[in-house]
Amino acid sequence: MSPLEHQYLLYLFVAYSAVWIVMFGFLYRMSQKARELEREVFLMRAYWDGLEEPRESPLPGDGGVPGPTV
């Protein structure tokens, strides 16, 4: 390998490493974002499950909502 070829390979290594570091940054951000979205979907599902559970009637006589007090 000639010194010039070695120099070109060095440039290629630097260029590809720079591209990789940028791509890795995106990969890291995607990983964080995916985890965040997963957590939010989990919370949303828990919320929906709570909404669909049968609730006690709040009507008077059922021991539900208390009236105004002085």
Binding site: E5, L10, W20, M30, A34, R35
Partner: protein, 227 residues
Amino acid sequence: MARFRSWGLALLGAGMVAVLYLIFLGSPDDAVLGPSQRIFYVHMGAAAVAGVAYTITAAASLLYLGTRRLSFDQWAAASAEIGTAFTTMLLVSGVLWGRAAWGIWWTWDPRLTATVILWVLFMGYLMVRQWTDGRERRARVASVLALAAYVAVPIDYMTIRWWKSIHPVVMTSHGFNMAPSMVVAMFAAMAGMLLLFAAWMQIRLALMRVEWGMEDARNRMRGMGRR
């Protein structure tokens, strides 16, 4: 788990730079091909990931058919998607290497043809997944299709051993058909790309769970609107 994931990502980030160093500066030139030989390391890394990815797809499909657990179908789909991306990389790097080594961009050699067939089969698998409605139905159809397509993987690996091919045989029963310093770079490239595959799988699986969660929420909202 979060710490393990962070360590894995850090290892991938630094490891890939080390792999690039080995490929460009740490490995010698080939006596015939000169510096063009370096395409080979990317090619072998992509081949290793494609093989592992399709094996995971086949195993997960088999597990789905056995247990009917939809999480196995998610694994199969995610792995097939990434495997197909790496097979594309395998074909592109192979074409570039072939131009440097043989002086032609393409030839209908058994290995090259078998790899194209494998790529087409898994592209078809992904299309069928897109076109099939209903999670259970899609999983059932896709699992059978994945197992059928997987037959092409061992055939693709064995083509250069069974038939006359101009494709080089690097791994033989007597050892490696290349210089030891090249073997180190080749295995480093394979390890680096497998780590990349693992990181990509983790992201894809999380996104797939999110997609399904959103789909469920949409269906629930529609159901509530009708009540």
